[in-house]
Amino acid sequence: MARASQERFAYGSVLEALSKGLYPDKRLIIREFIQNSYDGLSDLRKAHPKEPLRPIEVKAEPPSIFIGDFGSGMPEKKMREYRYLGYSEKDPTEHAGFRGIGKYSGLAVAEKIIVDSSPYGIPRRYRVVIHVGSMIDTLEKDRNVPLERLLRDFTELEDAPEKRDEHYTFVELNNVRKDASKLFDKQELQQYLSRTAPIALHPEFTYSTGIEKKLIESIPEYLAVDLTFNGENIYKPYFPNSREPGYETVLYEDDKPEVLAFCWYCQNADKGQFEPKEDSGLVYRVKNIAVGDGQLTRRTLWKLTPERAFYFFGEIHILNPKVVPSSDRTDFEDTEARTLLYKHCVRISTILRSKAGEESARRRFDEVLVKGNETVSGRARELKSGTLPVELKDEVLLQIQKIQEDVQKRLRRTKDNAAKRRAQRFLVKTRKLYSSIRKNGQGFFDLQKALKFDRRIRTLYDTVIQVLKDEFRHDPPRLERVIRRIHDAIKGKGSL
């Protein structure tokens, strides 16, 4: 038995595997710490709802990256546990982070992880230092150092007095390694935070207040925190050319009130997809922190017409606590709950696809009306000026008839009242022109009359025109061009 108690079952390389393996994209590490800050603020709000929530502050200043919050802070016990790997008493239903691994994510980038925390209402502060560099040096010498020893020897916990009214957690990823220097690309990190952090929509976005209000009403304990990066406020991205937002609630079952997810979306007011793609599409969020990006919803929900996924931007907030994000938050853990989520959320894409279809039809109807109007008005002008060759009379009638039929067909399908009114006005105008051409045919230019063709030439000319009409019957624009060229050529000879 004594021999068995000396056995060690976990060794140092686990640390390397956990840190490097779990976080191939080093920016995910920053998100881990923001997630912890968010939990601290969320706890503070629950325990002391009257306390104002101050922003999470993120700063990248070589050689370090700092993440600080004025949340509930961590008492001594939690700070002691902070050094433990894979230990967490956080409740997955209440907190964004809960595995107890994320805090060690900094291993992949920094020489030291220094964490200060002062818990709410306790006049002390605690500091945990994880000497990552020394751990790695030790591992390079001996790959099989017991994990327990590494964590004990290269972590420290200290304390000092603090003012009673102070409460915060402040993390420094000290001396970020060269292979992680990408983290100092300020623009890139700012964009990343804007897309993933649990923050509010940009206040300049016309619909931001309405959407935030709806999220607060629809999602229990919804929290959008303020966040600054190098002193600048960071907000979720938005597209100014958006239509009014729409909302969808996804239930577990249609006849039961339990909500599985809540979605808001805005459709592109312009044609087609939103650009850039990185900000478009719907993004899953758990505790208001992004899981994957627009590509994840496109892949999981838009089985048909996937290109239409990017006609929208918005969010799907997951309310089912059993749907758990993977450690790198690029997807969810493969569970039954996830299968159910994807299955039920397909309804969102069905609705949006139909909206995109309607929008497409409306846009096409608009185009048809505009083009039809141009054509009909153009013909009316030509008739008025007497420049339309009489040889084209049948073609013009056919052209107007076709436009009328197209507009009538779209008019029957549209639900857009404004478009309906415009279409009806257009049809009145078109009918008038059609019947006037048909009845008296006045206004056309008759080349034969103008040149006083004799019977023989008239027969010849009619034959040529008839042959041309037969030849180009499937290509009316070409026929028109040819007839106009004949007119121009004869006029050019000076006969007129």
Partner: protein, 304 residues
Amino acid sequence: MINRPQRFTKNKETVRALQRETIETSLASKLGNLRYFGLPSSILGDIREWRDLFAEFVAVERGEKGREWDLQHELTLQAFRLGLFTKLTLLRGDIDSIITKGKDLFGNRIKFPFDVVSLDYSGGFFYRDKRGRLERLQSVETLISKQSRKRVDFVFLISSNLDQVDQGEVRRTIDNIRTDLTRYGEEAEKLIGAYLKHPMDEARLKIYVPYFVNQLAAKYHYNCETDRVIFYKGNKRTRMMAFRFYLTFDARTEALRSPRERLSQILNKSLIELVDGRPNDTLLELPKLSPPEQKPKNAQERAN
């Protein structure tokens, strides 16, 4: 225990209040929008006291050898607690080297100019580097020269202890001052003698540092106004001195001008001695120099 920074004495608090007066008087039109460069210590002593005057702080912290990260981290934590984190830029390394090279150990550059430069040295003013050079004095010159390129007026604050006063350097400089005072004749001889013989280094530094700064200022087109020099006992009864200057840029001529502040003004200014935070005027029993207009102009007048 967390490496807790020292508590500041009442004397240090008064020094900060007097330095604040200098800033407020000299830079009245820019208050609230000033840029700071200096050594605030990890507890952010002066920044904490003056934060309402500044829009930006560039702080230098070297840290303790082998545990540099500790005090540097403490400084950023204090800035965060005080809500100054976004206004703060931390430069890591030795201040003299940072001024000379224009960047810190991690390549972060200093962006000149500053409105207030506060060099609150933890050691003395006469620190010598490995090659025996008075590196600190050279970095002060570099600093003034870099400020002058931006043609800005600034308040320059220096505090240091008297642990390693370079007696040779100080005495040689005071000898030079004697030459500058030849027109005062015997009176100057007596006066310089009194400074050299005085038992306290404070007396000699009272003229050495302002003289040094005045000479450098003139070299880079600055006029220098010296506020009264402060001396006091700091932590662990360390003897400390604090100097306050206001440098105004003047480039009306390409040719350099002699320092506008007269030596007699510097010499005749009393010092402020702080005891338990209370200021007392003193001349340390040093003689004054008569103003030039009271001096006899020639032998005849002297005879009369």
